[in-house]
Symmetry: C2
Subunit: 275 residues, 2 copies
């Protein structure tokens, strides 16, 4: 999902966390299918919906050098950063534009692959989004989605501030109309979007932070958000916590980063829908 | 963990669930290390602790044809089945014997690899078990453990009987002295067993049932246990449910197996400890 560029031009706090994402670490479930489709059609057209700052999109573009990637995000403010990231990476076969997942600015059957990552978890009618993703996908193409299942979040050690943070995040997702248990519901949403059961392939995978460098990236990103990012503003607006609460949570993340035995993991649901 | 052979000689109810386990689907985190150790020493000695009916042990034995596998289980009653499974598979480089994870019947530094799967989650002092596993492992060898994190269990659809079942299982684990959140605690237990942080590698992986055949195996195995297995007896003994509750849970598992959109997934923690 989109992130705002800070007024001072620095990358937004979330970027530290989100820009480690690539097709390889966040869409591994889709890559065998993409590779087999590429064999018969090297000029695949791929749409990445809710592309944010575009690191996943541009790694897809590297995988299909004779193809083309379009990244779309509802938040136009993030797009200069997406384009800058693509330029820094030297990726040319890509473009970014503003658009809503509910009303994608493309004709029917435009793309071979239409995918999203951590987008449906934040929105109110994910089945409508999947139906719209199916609309812009060619017959014989694929719609792919990977979404966290926030209720499976698994944190050690069990510091009270981290428990509060978990509740804050679930509260923010729900307050925004999202679904914390998205991962487990993806298959049912695909059916609600009109797919037949035989057209949907489900899988689960894991994502975790546990090495020292991963813990530092995670802790720093979350502390930045708790002490000054957009998440803090939203949480205050929805009365999901006080400034003291946020400081307790940030201190807990700092303590967590220092612990050798600390880790954070979560299950992700994944679907491939054959159109 | 061990399972009793039924008096009529049929495989125990749990076997349906447990005997799909192999080194490939249950110890993938260990295989690259095993392969690299095998290159320099093809005659690796591997100990599988809490081997149960031995399907993981015998698939390890196939991977090290010039090596040797020993399977140990605290429950001597399961061992005829373990031996029969090895014989059926035509695996010769394996033996099974009775023994406790707290007091392994082997000299110091006997094995190159000592591993367990879904064992520490059931016992009271998992760090003592890891210390004992380290004792019987050679210097330069590896201790490996993979354990579920039951609090991350992720079930769809959310039928009330399945919610009750989740609580029953967590209650049974705790009543038996086990730790439902084992997956996330493995690293800390390795430190408590005497390992240095730099000697421990942590990872997480997923395990799930969602295809029709997987759902049938899972549902049938759990229904058998709820309607007549040892789990039911234990649950009645610890007053964790009534016969009506167990029937409600079994019916919910039957309904779950029929649903196209149904799935069950769980996070597993994994450690490799370099001795």
């Amino acid at each position: 999902m989109g992130q705002d560029q800070n007024p001072d031009g620095k990358p937004p706090a979330q970027a530290t966390l989100h820009e480690v994402r690539t097709a390889e670490n966040s869409a591994a479930y889709l890559l065998p299918k993409l590779e087999s489709m590429k064999e018969s059609n090297p000029s695949l057209k791929l749409l990445d919906v809710g592309c944010g700052s575009g690191t996943i999109s541009l790694s897809f573009a590297k995988l299909i050098p004779d193809g083309h990637v379009t990244g779309v995000d509802v938040n136009a403010n993030i797009l200069p950063r997406s384009r800058a990231n693509a330029e820094t990476a030297g990726v040319k076969n890509i473009e970014f534009q503003q658009g809503s997942i509910y009303e994608l600015p493309f004709a029917d059957e435009t793309f071979d692959i239409t995918c999203c990552h951590q987008v449906l978890i934040h929105i109110g009618n994910p089945w409508d989004a999947l139906r719209e993703m199916l609309r812009v996908t060619k017959r014989g193409g694929i719609v792919a989605a990977r979404e966290g299942d926030y209720e499976t979040e698994c944190i050690w050690p069990e510091l009270p501030g981290l428990g509060k943070f978990h509740k804050l995040m679930a509260g923010l997702m729900s307050a925004g109309g999202g679904t914390p248990t998205s991962g487990r519901q993806l298959f049912s949403w695909a059916l609600k979007a009109g797919a037949e059961p035989s057209e949907v392939t489900l899988s689960y995978s894991t994502w975790s932070y546990h090495t020292l460098s991963e813990r530092k990236i995670c802790s720093q990103g979350l502390c930045d958000q708790l002490r000054g990012g957009g998440m803090r503003e939203k949480a205050l607006k929805f009365r999901l916590g006080t400034e003291n609460d946020f400081e307790e949570m940030a201190k807990a993340w700092e303590e967590w980063a220092e612990r050798d035995d600390a880790s954070l993991a979560m299950l992700h649901g994944e679907i491939l829908v054959q159109k």
